[in-house]
Symmetry: C2
Subunit: 345 residues, 2 copies
DNA sequence: CGCGAGCGCGGAAACGTTTTCCGGATGACG
DNA sequence: CGTCATCCGGAAAACGTTTCCGCGCTCGCG
């Protein structure tokens, strides 16, 4: 518990403003919040006092008295993951537009910390929580109104991309280019969102008569493994895949980060993208437009997710309607330069 | 101002805990904070009451009374920029270790919003602020104890990487590989940190008898321009550079994002990296290890910057020592696969 | 002219803590 | 046995707001 210096000059309070303006504190409060009638002349005097004293409301006091903080907590696994960072950006922007403050916390991919974060947010009196769990197995739950994001919980209100549809979009795109020999690289065998992408992908293939064998789906080490270990593992998978008897003509990586790392390995091995092999990612992080080759991917609409999540939270808080169910946001295929028809044999 | 439902069941307060435990509120407070002697038997009774009621301290009330929030504000331009996101991650982690809460705000690269953010943080009673300004020209300043980060302000306590040294490290590396024809790609002509990198680079070259002409330093459009516009501009610069009479054998991009976009353009144009041209970035964002080719770059030590900044802030808050000056964090060269000796003519 | 309505404002009670001050009990020691 | 220090706990005052209640005044209307 660090030592903190008491502020040198005490800050102006609503009381000092009232004294300077020659009115009662209640009147100042009404002027600040527009919560009651105040004559224009009085309002002007109050405003002058505020400006002169440099008064700023004390949100702790307001929150204490009004039992309302106008702030919501956002818990997510890790800002170093570009997708989460960009999601945080979108959410913060949307909340700001609504006049709400964001309290951003990182769980560091550690489910054990999530409980503590929820307690912290409760102690800080947030009105609600937007919660991206560290893993699908994480079971932390607070007493606050919560909307789950990206990683839904059955029976709880949540907002996520339609991952199955996303996977299907990829399948459709690759099939229409003429690909028939396909493979999937996923980072973690257990992640539900990733699993849905693969399921949607496989189902769409099957509907068009193309079979995706189990051995065509390669998974990296479980979530939580060190990044460089996962990269090495991924590199091995790529090599194994491309050196097999019937190498795929297209690869679906279940996230852009994996896709970018896959592209690196393919290029290192001397394969050309998309000439020798097509590559599709997922998320559409900003970086995916800048790498070589610019990545064909599935865009998760972060702004829409943010809007949807905040709407759901407000509905939950207003409490007059039935709590919203699990909402799906439509993903969109973004075609760039990493996909093309397969080379004719 | 959104409507917020009053909480259904009122939360347990320190008063209710005291009643259940059969003690006075002051005693509960002492037990919670260890701020006074309390007998073990009493402490046990209190703890049982706390557990039974599911009590959580109300930080608004504590902050109001104790005039101390144990939280610090962090203002940065944009989480969608991977370097800032990773910096935020490091800072949040370091603050958490110190038992401090982080209030993260984005200015969206907009200097006009910074003033409002500072007011917000003041209203929320943060103990201090870590401030990454949106631009070197942004002049916003609050009344809170502030440590400037990454973009220093003359005469104010600040923490930043030693950008000149970083630039010199790049020069040294490229010179020792045998490069003599060099070029620089920077994103923004006016940014001081970027300027220092270029200055350090040019100065180190000059010391070794290599001249960097003005026309060898290409700058993108000013900060704030839309991302895709900047990418197009950058592409043009790369092309122009490589099609010139004496194309460089090595390029220094003043950030990893620019380097990655440069690599893309070079590869699109058919150049091999590092065979045809070497490429060096700056920052060492995580992605730079995953792209092709893995990027030689200068690592900004985010953890050290976070430690340094928090240390400076605590010193500023304790107030007994002279406020710390402008601190520089040492950057380190990270050699990967994007640099090699120049092709012999 | 009388009366009710409503506007503008003041007063005061909360909100949940921390902190200070004080008193009672207990133990040690002469 | 008396005195004093020590330990533990109670009481109450703040912290800066919001909100409720009520009062005086003005104005419109019959």
């Amino acid at each position: 518990m660090p030592i903190v210096r008491a502020r040198a000059r005490p800050r102006a309070t609503i009381t000092s403003v009232a004294r300077v303006a020659g009115v009662a504190v209640g009147t100042v409060s009404k002027h600040l919040n527009g919560s009651g009638p105040v004559a224009v002349a009085t309002a002007r005097r109050i405003q002058q006092a505020i400006d002169r004293l440099g008064y700023r409301v004390n949100l702790s006091a307001r929150c204490l008295r009004a039992r309302r903080s106008d702030s919501v907590g956002l818990i997510l696994p890790n800002l170093a993951n570009p997708f989460f960072a960009e999601l945080a950006h979108a959410i913060q922007q949307a909340l700001t537009e609504r006049g709400l403050q964001t309290l951003l916390c990182e769980s560091d991919e550690n489910p054990d910390r999530e409980g503590r974060l929820l307690e912290d947010l409760e102690a800080r009196q947030v009105d609600g929580v937007l919660f991206v769990r560290a893993s699908d197995r994480s079971t932390a739950a607070g007493r606050l109104p919560t909307i789950y994001l990206d990683r839904p919980v059955a029976g709880r209100p949540s907002v996520a991309s339609d991952n199955k549809l996303g996977g299907a979009l990829v399948a459709q795109h690759l099939l229409s280019l003429g690909h028939r020999r396909l493979a999937v690289l996923r980072e973690d065998r257990t992640a539900v969102s990733t699993g849905d992408r693969v399921k949607g992908f496989a189902a769409a293939l099957r509907r068009r008569g193309v079979n995706l064998r189990d051995e065509d789906v390669l998974a990296g080490p479980p979530c939580g493994t060190a990044a460089h270990v996962r990269a090495v593992e991924l590199g091995r998978h790529v090599q194994e895949l491309m050196r097999s008897k019937a190498p795929p003509t297209a690869i679906f990586a279940t996230s852009d980060v994996v896709a970018i790392a896959t592209a690196r390995r393919l290029l290192e091995l001397g394969f050309k993208i998309p000439d020798d092999v097509s590559l599709v990612g997922f998320d559409d992080i900003e970086m995916s437009a800048y790498v070589f080759p610019p990545l064909t991917t599935v865009r998760q609409d972060r702004a829409a997710m943010a809007r949807e999540a905040i709407g759901a939270l407000e509905q939950l808080l207003s409490g007059d309607e039935a709590p919203p169910a699990e909402a799906l946001v439509e993903p969109k295929l973004v075609v760039r330069a990493s996909t093309a028809p397969p080379r004719m044999p």
